[in-house]
């Protein structure tokens, strides 16, 4: 039994890959990590020291730059027939790529797996996390994305062998035009130990400075509800929820967020949840470990000051 994990790259290897490797390790079998991109030597070295990886396959070619699904899926399909399982993190890239590869292999797919029960049985959330389905795959090759918030990152080991790999064609269906990156010096939302999120209660983009100040004091990331994103207070990749990012930090502070089902889907597995809201009936209080019923404009500066 051999397992192929698709590494995710930005300019370097992304932290989510180490969590997908953990899920692969739990399956029990040889874990091979595919690093596909252009000029990815550093990422391959970083991949080789992930605990549990027995081999790193490097596909270094200009056609894999930017991670376009059409070319990557062709590569994954050409390599994938030798494996019993193909995994990737349930990130934007993993979600874009794996269903395409699964369909080309004529197998079904499992999205957002949160638990490995056996080599063919897995648990995944459905209905915005309001139900957990235990699902058995009857396919020869199990293709799945891993909800990274549900798995810890693996540690390091002595470097595994790095071998060159190639396969698939330049299918020529799509071209990269541009990437508008949102710069942030704070920790990445998905990986942060602390997340401070703001909602419509903030009232404006300027007021998000209050959220940022608290996040910086705690060394955390800044998140937002959909209402705050739609109102233009913050960019859309801040969004936590069913349709945004799924996070499970040690501490999640929800400020001015009512707690709609779609938002809860993205954060209710956080270890400790704090809610600050002036509406005592806000559903967020039903999941919060500590609730503070108060005007956020009064208490946020105080809270930031006392934690500094």
């Amino acid at each position: 039994m051999a397992i192929l994990v698709i590494a995710e790259l930005d300019t370097q290897l992304k932290a989510d890959t180490a969590k997908a490797v953990n899920a692969a390790k739990q399956l029990g079998g040889d874990v091979h990590l595919l690093v596909a991109g252009h000029q990815v030597e550093a990422a391959a070295q970083a991949a080789a020291v992930l605990d549990g990886v027995s081999q790193v396959l490097v596909a270094d070619d200009a056609r894999f730059e930017h991670g376009l699904a059409e070319n990557l899926a062709d590569l994954v399909v050409s390599l994938g027939r030798d494996y019993t399982h193909i995994l990737a993190a349930a990130s934007a890239q993993g979600k874009d790529l794996l269903p395409r590869a699964a369909a080309l292999l004529d197998v079904s797919m499992l999205s957002d797996v949160v638990s490995v029960e056996s080599d063919d049985t897995f648990v995944r959330p459905i209905y915005a996390g309001n139900a957990l389905a235990t699902v058995q795959s009857l396919d020869a090759i199990k293709v799945m994305t891993i909800r990274t918030a549900a798995f810890d990152a693996v540690g390091e080991q002595a470097p595994a062998a790095i071998v060159a790999a190639s396969g698939g064609d330049d299918v020529g269906l799509s071209q990269f035009v541009g990437l508008e990156r949102i710069e942030s010096e704070r920790p990445e939302l998905g990986a942060a130990r602390v997340v401070v999120s703001g909602g419509r209660g903030l009232g404006s983009g300027e007021n998000f400075a209050l959220i940022e100040a608290l996040a910086d004091t705690l060394g955390g990331a800044v998140g937002a509800s959909r209402a705050a994103v739609d109102a233009g207070y913050v960019p859309n990749d801040y969004q936590v929820g069913q349709t945004g990012k799924i996070v499970a930090p040690e501490l999640y502070v929800a400020v001015g967020i009512s707690g709609a089902i779609q938002h809860l889907a993205g954060m209710k597995d956080s270890k400790v949840i704090v809610a600050i809201n002036k509406d005592p009936e806000a559903p967020i209080f039903q999941v919060a470990d500590y609730g503070l019923e108060a005007d956020l404009f009064e208490v946020l500066p105080k809270l930031t000051e006392q934690l500094a």
Partner: protein
């Protein structure tokens, strides 16, 4: 050009779902159903393309029980021209849905296929990508902007860390993200007119597609409930609890 839009009938997004006591699934009896929110965005985008003179005809397709015709009629009331209903009472998983849609694509030969990025029931986020794979088309997933330019379509995609723009050869598959547009409401006159628009019904067998599921759901459970928390009186108490009780800061 012809645009094909796929829509799905799902539980209304405001409904708090209940897991059945026997753990076989989620209780859908007497629950309000609606068009999946991402599919509404897909219909809206197609209608806007028609209003701009880019799209000439909008065909809307749905797979599911007889009742899914309601969602097709809704799409027709929003501006789609005709409907196709692939009727089945069986569970249709993403790969099989993609195969059924592929058969429709081969019949209709649309230039652009628009789907929602995920349905809010299964939360799979697979069908669009699988359809693109099976039809050999490029895919523009999680679209927040779609611009048709001659024989290409430029799609701006919501990715982790920002926005990526790709150019796809037509025909192509696009899946919609929330910020692509704000769907309109159907007006009463348009709802009345939609009743007269053509709606073809067919079965998976008519399309030559086997829909036996290959993922078997063993059980469905409610997630562990969080322990009820407490309300604190002020900031000082909150800081104290976080430091000394939860020990997270």
């Amino acid at each position: 050009m012809k645009v094909l839009v796929a829509v799905k009938r799902v539980i209304d997004y405001n409904v708090k779902v209940r897991v059945k006591p026997d753990n076989t699934g989620v209780d859908l009896a007497n629950v309000k159903m609606a068009m999946n929110p991402f599919c509404e965005i897909a219909v809206e985008e197609a209608v806007r393309l028609k209003e701009k003179g880019v799209a000439s005809e909008i065909v809307v397709v749905s797979i599911g029980p007889k009742a899914a015709q309601e969602q097709i009629r809704t799409a027709l009331a929003l501006g789609a021209d005709r409907g196709i209903h692939i009727e089945t009472d069986e569970e249709v998983q993403s790969l099989e849905a993609a195969k059924l849609l592929k058969a429709v694509v081969e019949k209709e030969e649309p230039k652009l296929v628009i789907l929602g990025k995920q349905s809010i029931d299964s939360d799979n986020n697979q069908t669009g990508q699988m359809l693109a794979a099976l039809t050999g088309m490029g895919q523009g997933t999680f679209a927040s902007e779609v611009v048709v330019d001659g024989e290409k379509v430029n799609v701006t995609r919501e990715v982790d860390g920002g926005l990526m723009t790709v150019a796809l050869n037509l025909p192509a598959v696009v899946t919609t993200d929330l910020r692509l547009n704000e769907p309109r409401y159907a007006s009463l006159p348009n709802i009345m007119k939609a009743k007269k628009k053509p709606l073809d019904a067919m079965s998976p067998a008519d399309l030559g597609v086997e829909i036996a599921p290959r993922l078997s759901t063993l059980k469905v459970e409610a997630p562990a409930a969080r322990q009820a928390g407490i309300k604190v009186a002020d900031v000082a108490e909150l800081v104290d609890k976080l430091k000394n009780e939860a020990k997270v800061i």
